[in-house]
Structure formats: C-alpha cells, structure tokens
C-alpha cells in the first residue's frame, strides 16, 4: 500500500513538472522585462518592479509609465541657469488635481530655447490614479524637495521619478498625521468607489506593496491573510468590502482555491488532520452536524443505528475495548474533539460517562471500570469554573454530587 502511495505522489509531482516543461517551450522570452505593466490579474507591487530596473518607482497602475518628450535636464537648469522649480513648473503651487499637467509648456521652453524647441510637441503624462492637491500641500508650507527630493541631481524625469507611497506615509501615518492634520485614511490619495479603493484595472490588479510590510499580498497570502485581518483589520477595509470576506468565509459557493474538486470525499480526512482550520468558516453544529445527521453518519439522524447503516467507527475491539491503542476512541476524542462534535452530541458521551445519579452508568457501570473522561489535573482546572457556568458539570453530575465539592 505504501509503495502505491509513493508512486502516486511521484506521479503527481512528475505531472506538474512535465506540464511546466511543456509550457516553458512556448513561452515568449520576457525575462527581465520590467517596463510597462504586468499581465492582467498579475500582482502589480511597486517594489518588485522597481528592483528590476535597479531603483524604486511607483506602481504603474497608480502612476502610469510615462517618459517626457525631452530630457528634463534639472541639473543644468538649476545650477547653470539658476532656475527654481516654479520657473518651469508654474502651475505646481495652484494645482488641485493630479490630472493637471504641471510640466513646462512648449511656450515656456521656447522663451529660452526659441530655435531648438519651436516645433516640439509636449507629450502630457497620462492621468495618475490618485487624488492629489499640490495647492493643499504648498499652502501648508511643504516645499517641492520634501516629496520630490533633490531633483537637481537628476537629469531625467517621468513616472519612475514620482514619489513613492513611503514618502507620503512619512506624514500620512502615525502621530505625525495627527500633528499635521494630514489624515491617514488611504482614500485621501487613492481613488475610491463606494468607500473602497479601486484596485481592479484593465492592466492588472493593484496590491499592497512591500512598503506596507507583512500585508504584501505575495503567493501564499491566502494562507497568511488571517493574521493581518486580525490585527490590522481596518487596513483591509480600505481596499476590501466586508462582503468579500463573506464570499469565502460564509459562502454559498465552495472556494476552489481552498477546497479542490470533490471536496465532499476528501474533507473527512482533512478535518481530522486539521479540524481547527474548518471552524474558521464552518459552523460545527448547525452546518456540519445537521449535514451528517442528514447523511446518516450521526447516531442521532436517519438510520442512525448501526443495525440500519452499519458501523462508522472501527470495530469495538479497537474503538472501545481494552487494551487501548492510538485508535481507541478515548485517545481519538482527546485529539480530535472538534471532529467528534460534528456528528456526536453530548448525549452520546453522557450515555457512558455520566454518573449513575443522573441516569448514566457511572463509575463501575456496565463496562466495569472507571469512566471519568477528565484529564489529569482537572480538579485544579475546574475550581471556580462551576460558579461561572455550572451547566456542563450538571450534564454528568447531580448538583449535590460529592465529586463536585472540589470544583466549587
């Protein structure tokens, strides 16, 4: 049997590698292509793209790739002609929208470069997907260099030279946002619809960049997202509607990225392997129990008796009798209680474990041995618990049971 399993695993792995080998032959060579945007639905983080061109640059989904018609020659203008930023970018301090063209107009260039640039057509940059007001920032006394750095050191311009989000976050996060009354809501800058940042564009999907730390949506994000949602939930809601959470966690459709096909067959073993994962989406009682009742798997449901539908668990010699092995129900229940309750109710346990005083067989019952299911050290645990909720104790014990004295 083991040989078959190993062979199966090898085959599946080989299938994967073979498919990729075949696929690789037809792929067009685009290795190292860092320009432009990534294919549709491809994560478009700014930093990974930036790395391939050797410098960080904003996401092309936010600031579309663009190069000016002419080199900006910032260095020459600043050092040789002693021009200030506003001498060429004359609209910068009054602009109230990111779509405004803030580069020099042809007329402005011609004032000094009459012969050279008389016939030049200035190519306007595509509209960034941002809300931004230079006027607001200038009115607060923020100078150009605060965000754009020392552009005099650069000759070039274009989308790759626009400020990164990390620059914005210097003022738009933490206590500094409050001190400057700058605000830290993502929608201050990012274009939103319905109170949610727009992330789906025809060129691709805008995802958090690595400047946002652990919430960068890399390959296994699906597995990791719970932690981010738990301690940074409000950040998630900047881009996601709450209903998106429900589309998996409370879905009418099985998410295939979580559960592969024919999950109905596979889920039993999976639940026993990692039952804790199931309950993040599934209700163990109303959902799991009732389906198992309906399917005849639970002892309380249709054909719930062994005589009617056969035995589900291993034979009594393994499951209930001594000597106990790892397959014994006592061991299995301790390890997999999450899974037990998907078919069994309290009555099924109390039928053997309850004390005689409440109607169970009690210690020394029909099985002729102590039946307490409590773990070692239980008395120390239960002390004080009864006062907070006595109900579970009273399932198996009467209120005046001397055994409960230690728990009061």
């Amino acid at each position: 049997m083991k040989t078959r399993n190993v062979a199966f695993a090898v085959w599946v792995t080989a299938m994967t590698l073979a498919l990729f080998a075949l696929a690789g032959n037809d792929r067009p060579g685009k290795s190292g292509d860092s320009a432009g945007v990534r294919p549709r639905e491809r994560p478009s983080n700014a930093e990974p793209l930036a790395s391939k061109v050797g410098k960080a640059r904003p996401s092309p989904l936010v600031v579309p790739a663009w190069q000016p018609s002419l080199p900006a020659a910032h260095l020459v203008h600043a050092e040789e002609t002693k021009l200030g930023c506003i001498d060429c970018h004359s609209n910068a301090k009054s602009s109230n929208a990111s779509r405004d063209w803030l580069g020099p107009s042809r007329d402005r260039c011609v004032e000094c470069h009459e012969q050279r640039f008389a016939n030049i057509q200035v190519k306007a940059a595509p509209n960034p997907r941002l809300r931004f007001s230079h006027q607001r920032h200038a009115a607060k006394g923020i100078v150009c260099e605060t965000c754009h750095g020392n552009v005099n050191e650069r000759q070039d311009a274009g989308s790759e030279r626009q400020p990164l989000m990390a620059v914005c976050l210097r003022c738009h996060s933490g206590t500094r946002a409050a001190q400057l009354k700058a605000g830290s809501d993502c929608r201050l800058c990012h274009v939103s619809q319905g109170g949610i940042i727009q992330t789906r564009f025809k060129e691709g999907l805008l995802l958090p960049s690595r400047s946002l730390g652990s919430i960068e949506h890399t390959g296994n994000w699906l597995y990791r997202h719970a932690e981010a949602a738990m301690n940074q939930g409000s950040l998630c809601l900047a881009c996601h509607k709450e209903s998106e959470c429900f589309s998996c966690h409370n879905s009418s459709l099985r998410p295939r990225s979580i559960h592969p096909s024919d999950w109905l067959s596979l889920h039993g073993v999976s639940a026993r392997q990692d039952g804790g994962g199931c309950v993040s989406c599934h209700r163990s009682q109303s959902e799991c129990l009732t389906c198992h009742l309906r399917a005849g798997l639970s002892p309380s449901g249709p054909r719930g008796t062994e005589a009617a539908r056969g035995r589900f668990h291993p034979p009594p010699s393994v499951w209930t009798d001594r000597p106990r092995t790892g397959r014994h129900h006592a061991v299995q229940a301790r390890l997999h209680m999450d899974e037990c309750v998907s078919c069994h109710q309290e009555r099924d346990c109390a039928a053997c474990h309850a004390t005689a005083a409440v109607g169970g067989p009690g210690i020394g019952g029909p099985f002729g041995r102590g039946m307490s299911p409590h773990p070692p050290g239980f008395l120390a645990q239960c002390r004080g618990v009864m006062s907070r909720n006595p109900r579970p104790c009273l399932v198996c014990h009467r209120a005046d049971d001397p055994a409960l004295v230690g728990c009061r």
Binding site: F20, A178, S211, N231, N250, L266, G276
Partner: protein, 491 residues
Amino acid sequence: MSRAFAAVGVFFGLCVAEPARAYEAHVDGQSVLQLYAFEGYYGAPSVSRQRLTHTLGLDVVDLAGSAWNNEPWINVRVRMRMDADYGISPAEQDPSNTDYFIPGLKTAPVDVMFAYVEGGGWLHNTTGFRLGRQTFFDELGWWSLDGARVAFSPGHLFELAGYAGFEQRGGVPLLSTSRFESAGVFRGDRAGFGATQWPGYLQSTSLAPALGGSLALLAIPHLRARIDYRRVSERDQVVTSPFLDAQGQLATESRSRVSTERAGFSLGYDFGRAASADGSAVYDLYRSKLIEHRASVIGHLSENVRVYANYRYRLPTFDADSIFNWFGAVGSTDVRPRLEVDVRHDWSLGVSGGVRWYQSPWSSATTAAGTERGYERDFIGGVDSTWRERALVLRLADTAEVGDAGDRFVGDAYLGYSLYGGTLTPSAILTLARWRDHLRSDFNSSVFTYVLGCRFAPVGAPRFGVDWEHSLSDVSGQRFRVVASVDVRWP
C-alpha cells in the same frame, strides 16, 4: 422579523431612488443555483441539494462628508441573503417524524448578514463608530454582534474601542451563515418541541449580552500591537442532563452564566523591506488556559525570493455551556516553512513543507498491550505554481499530507483563458486525489474530477457563470454538480 426586512427594503428603495445627492450608492446582488446529490458511504439515505441562493448588498457611502476632504463621514452597509434548499423533504422538517427530523431545518431561511451605520473622523478626527449588525475579525476569532462599537483615537497615538450589544447567534442547518455559533452546542428555538424531545438541541431565544473592547497602538510606524477582550453571557433555560429524573423530567439550568470570555494579544513589526514578524496569543478566561498562540516570519532573500515560517498552536475550545471543554481535548501544533520564487514576471513557484502534531498529557501511559499513543503527527508537503500570460492562467498545485490521521495526495490543475478582452473566460479544472483513512481502511479512495466552466462578463452588464463538475471515485461512484451564477452590480 418580517417588519425588519420590510424596513430594510424601504431603506434600499429610498437610497437608490435619489441618486442626485453627494453620497455614493452601490447595489450588488448574486444568485447562485447549485444542483447535486450524494449518497452516504452506506448508500441511502442520500442527500439531495437543490440550492438557490440570493444575496443582495447595499452600500451608501459618504452620507455626511468625505474622508478626501478630511471631513467626518458616515456610511451605511447592508447585506442579506436567502439560502434556499428545495431538496429538503417535508419529513426532515416534521418534529413528529423522529427518524428523519432535523432540528431547525428550513427550506428558505433569510439572513441579514450585516446591516450597520458607520462613521469616522468625528470629534476633531478622533472618534469613529459602528451601529447595527456587524462582524468582528480579531485575535479572538470571527464573531458577530448586534450592537454598537465606538472607537477613540486621540492624536493617532492609539485606538481605544469598546462595544456592547448582543451576540448574533444561531446557525442555519446545512448552511454556512454569517451568524456566530459557538462550537459544541446545537442551539435554536425549541418552539413546537416536546420537553424531552431532542434534549441536545438547546433553547436559544433570549438575547445573549456581549461586551468587549480593544486597544491598538498606532503611534509607532511599522509596529503593531493590540489587545482584545470579549465576554458573552448566556441566559436561556437549557436542559442539563439528557436523562429523565425521578419525576420523568429533564433537569434544566436557567441562571445567567458565561458563554465565552477571552482575551487576546498580538504584536508585529516590519523590519524595513527585509522582513516582518508577527505573533499573537489568545487566553480563555473561562477555562483559564492559553488556547491559541501563533507566530509568523517573512524574510525577503532577494526581490524575487521569499521565505516564510509559520507556527500555530490551537486547543479546541467550546462554548461554556458545552461539556466538550472538559473531555481533555488536546491542542495541535502546526509548523510550516515555505519558499516562494518569482521565477519570471509571469511565473511563480512555491514549495511548502511542515509538520503538525497533537501531543496529549497521556503519552506516557502504557497498557498491557503496549504504549497508548497520546500523540499524532502529520507531515505536510506541497508544490504550487502559477503561470499567467495576458489571457491565460495556468495554476498547478500538488499537496500531500501524510500522517497518523490519514493520508491525502491531491493534484489540482486549473486552466483559464480570457477571450474578447476578458468578456468570455472558459476554464477547466482537473483534480486527481487519493486518500487513506487510517481509522477505516475500507474508506480509502482515489478520485478523479474534472470541472468545465465558463464566465461571461460583458462590460456594464450582469456577469454569468456556469460550471459542470463530474467526479469519479472508487468508493462513492460518480457524482455530478451543476453550478450557475449571475452577478449584478449597480452602478
């Protein structure tokens, strides 16, 4: 209940009828039809599912002002769902039919998943609130509340939040609902039940008071820290022992008592662009036990290579009304490293491994026949890869979990191709799986499944989808499933 839905309907109408105001209104809906049937391992009874699910959502945002203008803002968000299953037979809903009756089963239950008014930026940009039926996701888990939450964040130093209301409880049989349901107790309205009928189905009609709070640190860039506390009380009169007493009655308990009481803590830090680390822990104050702790580290070896290490310990914990807390459930520990490589801009590859084990305090106990093993181990391995071209997506995933509980080997391949600029997307999924159940070797099986589907998403129009799924198994034979969906969105 019907009045509540009528009110929601009127609200929807009012909001949608006046689009000329400054606020934005969005309506979306989804209808899904799923047809399938399956037999138990023993043949009949078979379960027939004829599910028709309608979901309707409304978002009205920036009713008072806009965050863009640094103004206080108010949003309204509502989502409701009717999840009907026309495969349910009358016998399953008849309490007198003790052979087939399933408590709480309804043909077409309607669920208000959430409905709340929220605001932010109030009182000099220090205060936010949320009022209504709302969902929480924090270290303490997925949870839902009918009530109010107020958050106060002076100077963006920290956010102190408090909430109070009633736990939104009560799952719906056979369905995954937004309503919260504590594990271990099967609750619902026992109206129409005999006093001794279905004692395990506990009465749940009284409101369950809940309160809690959180404190989150905002002041230090790249550092996140948060503590949470929550307590829910139970007030319903419920059966205790399932056995009749001397008077032929079932004993009950009706005192106000703890349902859940937990506290959680999380801490995380981003080490620039190189790495980040997170950890959290949850303490159950009712059980006086640490029931969950986890940690994760992400390291960027280069721009295209990442490593992950995840650790998690979880002890199954149930509602305080349940006996299962006290049956010595043992926690599981899960450790999973992973390596991820962006081989090319259109090709990514991931390799995962790991081990999960359950360790009980009885592992040293021995019997005459040998050692009683108080632990189990599962070894986990997986390879996954995605290749995306402009119109084509190919995703392959192989996973293997081998261990004491059972073995699973699953190979899954997805191929999708977009036509006409993404308007039409035919897709195919092939799955080959083999599983061994170590408790019942006669359940061991191999399964082959193929799914053929197509999405039609014209611009500015409803989106349609249909899937045909066919599984062949050497244990359960053939299974078929048809899924059809329509998504609408306005504007």
